[in-house]
Amino acid sequence: MSQRRTRVARPQSAASRSVPATLPLGALAAGMGLSLLAAPVMAQNEPAASQTLPAVGVKAAKQQAAPSKENLQTVTTNIGKGKQAIRDIPQSITVMTEKLIDDVKLDTLKQALHYTAGITFAATENGTDQDIRMRGFPVATVGDLLIDGMKDPSQYDRDTFNYDRIEVMRGSASMIFGRGSTGGVVNQVTKKPMLADQTDLTTTIGTGDYLRTTVDLNKRTDENAALRINAMVTTADNYGAKVKKYGVAPTYSWGIGTADEFTVGLFYLNVDNKPLNGFRYVGGQVPKNIDPNSYYGTSGDFLKGEATYVSASHVHRFGGDAELRTQFRSGEFMRGQWSTTATFGTGTTQANIDGSTSITRGGLTPRRDIYNGTYLQSDFSNKLTLLGMRHEVLAGVDLSAEQATRYSNNGARNVLGTRPVATVGNPNNEADLTGTGNRPLWRETSSYAGWALGAYAQDLIQIADHWKVLGGVRWDRFETTTQSLTFGTNASPSLTPTATSLTHLKYSSLWSHRVGLLYQPTSESSFHLSHSSSFNTAADTYQFTTALNSNTPAEKSRNIEVGAKLDWLNGDLSTRFALFRTEKFNERTTDIDFATSAYTLSGKRHSRGLEVDVVGRLAKDVEVYFSYAYIPEAKIDRAGSAGAGVGQRVGLTPRHTGATWLSWQAMPKFRVAAGVRGASENRPLTGSTGAASATAKAGGYTVVDAMAEYKFTQDTYAQLNVTNLANRTYGDMLYPGFSVLGEGRSIKFTVGTRF
């Protein structure tokens, strides 16, 4: 400091800088604490014309909102466990911010994932709608869905109300996340308290009696503490496919930004929907002349889900860049489903479907499952200089204990009723089942208990100007026990199994790695080359663990990728490119959705392709989001003794998938936006290998969504959304026997305010 520092009288509370009791006269004269000028400072969705700050008149500045609410673009991510610049991660990444979620009105994770490339959905006989595929490999069923970086394996219907953003990292990543992650991971980042007082309220009404209200309340309770509460209620008649759900998520943080920051949170979501589980193919194709909003279910159909968890985290900052972040989550996730598939009468062709075409309703196998998961992980990150080189070190341990219990209908006591026939022209007729069993009587069929321990370390080294090398390794230990129960058809008592099989599975040491080379010649460019591995254990699916496969070593995969992340227009626009080859090179010759009895590790499949992301601001009043994947090759290379499917394309892997969203601030208060999403021809999985079906397919499709927004004031807006503008009928979730149609046209009107 200077030899002669100007000393000034400081108000006593300068440290906490609450306004001193005695204000300087000059401060009062200059208007401190008063709003003199209505010069808005970058408020939400500020018309871009004033995105560069005007000279700030002296007034209380607006509260800083969460950046994710304001921008499609983001430059940092936590998906690699520590906070990193996206440009420093040598893998393909897509981030969907809350702004995109709000703009497009993406209520559920499934809707949101339609806005990221390379992701498809399988339908199953149990009617899950969370069976996600990425680059041709399963995601959800193997625990690659994450909440804040920790597994979220259940099949419940996820809602976006508490998401700050959704991060998708593609390619093998066991080095970060342990088992699974062949095609990549999807991370749901939850909203965290901020040091601001701000409440967002939105109400949406829409076609099909849709009504959704969300609250996002953030209150600064102390100098370094804040409370954030998110809540949501949604109901819709939806022409029969009813939606009824609510959720609440309070989170409290204290010590924000200090050496020790703590966060505790609760989350509860309750879903009670009526789904329609699809239509049988007509001539091997999705029925073309059916209104996608048609519902042919019955009064006995349901999709119930419940998620309850507590979470806690602690960040210790050692000063400088060293940080130790510990996270804990424990919760229970329940899902139960019984739904209908519609089969058209014999002789039906695409051409002759009309109102009189008869529909036979089949009930899928009812299923209920409860997952319990407790996760604890600690990650240490630091930046340091060793031998003149900059290092960014990341290391951690994680521990998980998981249980799953599955139930099916007790057929000995409860013969399920029959669904009556219908006609195409008479949808949503609220038909009742005939017979006595109009709902399942649950009986446990299998249970799973397992624990896993993992430890990893990674270093990102600046080896020369512009060059960084990344190396990481991880060790996992994993142990599970699965119990399967078999029941006789007329067993009495029916809750006593005729056979119980216990299978123990143990992997005492599994290794995975990630290495990468980054070339960053300028602050706007980063090029990467990486090689990473992953493994899948027989118990990835929290089931299917039989004596037969408990002796099978883990499957192995590898991912080779070369890519570039380039920023333009002073960083306003980010573009990301990746060429990848992902290969599962010693696969059990079964697919998780089709358990058979052949377990060898002689299977092999691979996919290769290109992914492109463009996100940010094209011009001061034009924002863009674009995500596209081209996968020309996805092939079953080798299979087991059956040899079925070798040489065929992998199912659920269209050549082209993509989505874009373009938003234009046409006038200071008026913004319009539109998006296109779609995929080329898609085929379901068949047989034991996951090859594409030769007999059934969903044609390529594109769907247009559109939005218009008018801002009455800086903080109050009205928004009109149209989803699936042309009311296109397309197959969204595919199964060899049937497909579930994508959402039909809906119109939604939202009013939102912030105070």
């Binding site: 520092r5 300087p24 000059g26 005007p54 800083q64 940092t76 960083g571």
Partner: protein, 228 residues
Amino acid sequence: MLLHAQQVLTPDEVHHARTLLSDAPWSDGRVSSGQQAAQAKRNEQLPENHPVTRQLQEMVLQALQRHALFFSAALPRQVSPPMFNRYGGNLNTFGNHVDSAVRHLPGGVGRVRTDVSCTIFLSEPDEYDGGDLVIEDTFGPRRVKLPAGDMVVYPGTSVHRVEPVTRGHRVASFFWVQSMVRSDEQRRLLYDMDMHLMHLRSTVGETDEAVIGLTATYHNLLRMWIDV
């Protein structure tokens, strides 16, 4: 007048800024300086319209809102959007220069007369060697190197420089204020009077006759000198 305002940014705000700035797209600082200054300028700046810049600008402006002494000393009429610079490596110094008299705001949204210059330090003094802000005052050179979160406020009329950073990085935010009182001398008198009056008001009380009289004098001087 040279003022050292302490803890303008809280430690968590500094940390937040540092986190965002650690991987921000820095670019050559010469884009924002006048011709003469460009000869002397060797540093990096954050593009003015980058999302990170915008976010941090707002944070800094909010922090200023809380700082009574800043208001008393600068008597701000307009504040230019805060900018962010970094000294280190090869781009580590800014030789002697005077800031342009007028700061044209990006997007042609206005002008700010640079009566008062402000620098908020974002790096701790022990994180870098060199990098002193040296201000040629009427009393000779003043060397300034403050803790992270602190701010120096000095007249825009002074010749000043940032000495070469020989180790580490010096990250800072800088901006200008167009004051309601143009003259540095007058501002200084008002500020001193204000500070002494604050002391009196809190010890003698607001209702003391002399305090009321002097307060009136303060306002009368302000009235005489102010452009609103």
